[in-house]
């Protein structure tokens, strides 16, 4: 029996159109816009001004406070301006706009694994410092600063590192390709993270619809790794959710409102591990990532190594251009990704994919009355009652919503996906969550 999580979960069609497409570098765009807030937490403070010349890998935004991340230039060129640019959230936020001139890298960055130094020679402090300096954030989508996740609060005892190679979102294949093409590097990165956390054991979770990635990682583990195990998982969405993945692999349940460290586990995405590998061995900051460009109407879905700040339009161009019947362009996957307001929105550290949906599939069907079929209850991976949360949300029963545990919701969208009445359950639940959040804030003694 393959492992998976309970309760709930759904089986959306995988639609991994680009899983056999090797990652290719995307040609440099003419200009990039590098947002100063590509992470959860305080936006970085800009270190450059209009007219400055910058090199690729140069620090242009400095982390502010404990939960923040450095931002580096992904290209060489001239700073045109620092201005508000609309990002995937739909809001305009400060970004450094750079005209690309050549491809000159900062002298501190070596483009190769530093030779002559045994990998075990890196100390814990060195590893953490390199990750902090490189501005690495969780690349699975949450974009939480990685340095913070690697520093467990005092009193907690990390015992296990889980590497998230699940990629349960339909269509996306960026992590999949990384595991096939960079298996050795991922294992080295995993060893670094294990050292940083002081754990002896790591498990790489991969769903068994990626047999090539499973085989590749297994082979690499046999060759190199110590204390690293590859764990095949039964396909089920949202297995890539931190709590679901921990439940699937270890059987442990992270309590509501608590972090994975409370059950002795830390989870990092494979993309994050690769970025950490590059940061530690090459001093290379997080300025590029693999982005899946996909969609049934695209002529050439693929995986591209793409500089941060590249407009989504450039990626779509490389994949054959925006089809005429396009209805939606999504940053991320179809379950949790964000619909973009235009293709001028740029790739950030957390952008795992660009998904183009034709107009015919882009619109929702009209919502009808709830028929109380219980399918949303069965699908909810957090054991909630989405139908009830929606009703309470519509009637603005904020306290009742809190009692119904609305804050447990991980916004995976399984309820919406499964509802035969096409009810916008998650929309209303999100509104309810924000109202409960406000209520909780007012309650806090200030």
């Amino acid at each position: 029996m393959l492992k998976t999580f309970t309760p709930g979960g759904i089986h959306p069609p995988a639609d991994k159109l680009s899983s056999r497409e090797a990652t290719v570098p995307l040609p440099l765009p003419e200009r990039v816009a590098i947002p100063l807030s590509q992470h959860i937490g305080v936006p970085a403070t800009p270190l450059v001004k209009k007219g400055d010349r910058v090199k690729a890998g140069q620090l242009i935004g400095e982390a502010v406070g404990p939960i923040s991340a450095n931002v580096h230039s992904s290209v060489s060129g001239t700073v045109l301006d620092i201005e508000a640019v609309v990002d995937a959230s739909g809001y305009a936020r400060p970004a450094v706009v750079i005209r690309v001139e050549g491809d000159e890298w900062d002298a501190s960055v070596s483009r190769q694994e530093s030779p002559g130094r045994h990998l075990s020679a890196f100390s814990r402090e060195e590893i953490l410092a390199a990750i902090q300096a490189a501005g690495i954030v969780g690349m699975g989508g949450a974009t939480f600063p990685t340095r913070v996740k690697l520093s467990p609060p005092p009193g907690s005892e990390p015992g296990l590192l889980i590497i998230n190679g699940v990629e349960c979102e339909p269509f996306l294949t960026a992590d999949h390709r990384l595991m096939i093409e960079k298996s050795r590097e991922l294992l080295i990165g995993t060893r670094f993270l294990m050292k940083a956390l002081g754990v002896e054991q790591a498990v790489i979770g991969i769903e068994n619809n990626k047999p090539d990635a499973l085989a590749g990682m297994r082979e690499a583990v046999m060759k190199h790794a110590l204390g690293i195990e590859v764990c095949p998982l039964k396909v089920k969405y949202p297995q890539g959710g931190e709590k679901q993945l921990i439940r699937a692999i270890t059987g442990r349940r992270v309590p509501p409102g608590a972090l994975p460290i409370s059950v002795g586990v830390v989870v990092h995405n494979v993309g994050t591990v690769y970025a950490a590998y590059e940061a530690i061995t090459m001093h290379k900051p997080l300025v590029e990532r693999v982005v899946t460009v996909t969609g049934k109407s695209l002529s050439r879905p693929g995986n591209y190594l793409c500089r941060v700040g590249t407009p989504v339009a450039c990626l779509i161009e490389a994949a054959g251009g925006l089809p005429g019947d396009t209805g939606k362009v999504i940053a991320g996957g179809p379950m949790m990704g964000k619909a973009l307001t235009s293709t001028a929105v740029v790739v950030t550290k957390g952008t795992s994919g660009v998904l183009v949906i034709p107009e015919s599939e882009a619109r929702r069907q009209p919502a009808r009355d709830c028929i109380r079929c219980t399918k949303c209850v069965k699908a909810c991976p957090m054991g909630l009652e989405p139908y009830l949360l929606m009703t309470l949300g519509e009637y603005r029963q904020t306290e009742a919503l809190e009692r119904a545990r609305v804050m447990d919701c991980i916004e995976c969208g399984s309820c919406n996906f499964t509802c035969p009445a096409h009810r916008p359950l998650l929309d209303i639940i999100r509104l309810g969550k924000s109202r409960v959040g406000q209520l909780m804030k007012t309650r806090k003694p200030s």
Partner: protein
């Protein structure tokens, strides 16, 4: 460039629909419908057609002219109400009574609450119980199935009548309900051959076939039917063990409306609980009430009343039976 569509995630849908589930139930009802036509002849088909047509017509008329809202008769739920109502009627019932039952089922049972999704009681059962109470003679004149052989219907008692007879005479039930005593073989209950009853309650095996289909198509889960079966077996088993004058579990399971009620009526989405734990309570309640009414009540059959009573408890059950929280 044309404007992009913006909406919150998720951006895909699983493709399930109200129609898929409703028509799934209808497909599952087909074997039983075929059986009832085979056993009761064309009368069964006429009753079914009359019930379905009038249920759809009344729903359309109420939505269109009374509520002034778009009609949703194509969602399949009115068709199900019609078929289920017909399955609860004898095949010889006058068609005007069928239409009256459909009016009560749709008008009072469903539309007065706001239509599909908002009703508290199972509409088909509201219609049936209304007819049963208002027209007890017509509703309890059960033709004995003779297929297409004869035009003269012969009426006979439903097997459940023997339950009270055995208790009255205080003889072991197996003696009273035996081919010698005017009853039947237990196997006949399963296949429906020679058993008097309403359209849909005479062939337990055909209904079980529909149950399997519903499970495979994931239209319903097993919790409610299985908990009803177990409760009926348990409570009738206890009574039978105390005194053999009470009918045993197998008889109670295979006779009357248990299969139809447990598989198709109690599992109605709208009027049944939402969590597995709630479904167990609901199903156990239906089973217990059925056995109580059958053995101690005024009516020979109690499934309809049991389901309606537990329908009333569903909101309460939903309030206290929450799904297990993650962690």
């Amino acid at each position: 460039m044309n404007k992009l569509i913006i909406s919150p995630s998720p951006h895909v849908h699983g493709g399930d629909s109200i129609e898929r589930n409703m028509y799934g139930v209808l497909v599952a009802l087909l074997p039983a419908l075929l059986c009832s036509i085979l056993f009761f002849g064309w009368g069964a088909l006429y009753v079914t057609i009359a019930a379905v047509a009038s249920a759809m017509l009344f729903e359309y008329a109420i939505q269109r002219y009374l509520l002034k809202q778009p009609a949703t008769i194509d969602d399949g739920s009115a068709v199900i109400t019609g078929v289920l109502l017909a399955f609860n009627l004898p095949s010889t019932i006058p068609l005007w009574l069928v239409m009256l039952g459909a009016l009560v089922a749709i008008g009072i049972g469903k539309m007065s609450f706001g239509g599909l999704g908002n009703n508290i009681f199972n509409p088909a059962l509201v219609g049936r119980v209304f007819l049963l109470i208002s027209f007890p003679v017509q509703m309890t004149t059960w033709p004995v199935p003779r297929g297409f052989e004869t035009t003269d219907a012969v009426t006979g008692p439903t097997p459940l009548v023997f339950v009270k007879q055995a208790l009255r005479e205080h003889k072991p039930f197996v003696e009273v309900f035996s081919p010698a005593g005017g009853g039947r073989d237990l196997l006949d209950l399963g296949t429906g051959s020679g058993i008097g009853g309403s359209l849909g309650e005479i062939a337990a095996f055909a209904l079980l076939l529909g149950f399997a289909y519903l499970l495979i198509k994931r239209v319903i889960t097993w919790h409610i039917p299985v908990s009803i079966f177990l409760a009926i077996a348990l409570f009738s088993g206890i009574l039978h063990w105390i005194d053999p004058a009470y009918a045993g579990p197998l008889f109670h399971l295979l006779s009357g409306g248990v299969m139809l009620g447990a598989i198709f009526m109690a599992t109605d989405y709208v009027t049944s609980p939402m969590s597995p734990r709630g479904m167990w309570i609901y199903g156990t309640g239906i089973g217990a009430l059925t056995i109580i009414i059958r053995n101690f009540g005024a009516y020979p059959e109690g499934v309809s009343f049991a389901i309606l009573i537990m329908n009333a408890f569903t909101p309460l059950i939903n309030k206290y039976c929450k799904p297990k929280r993650f962690a």
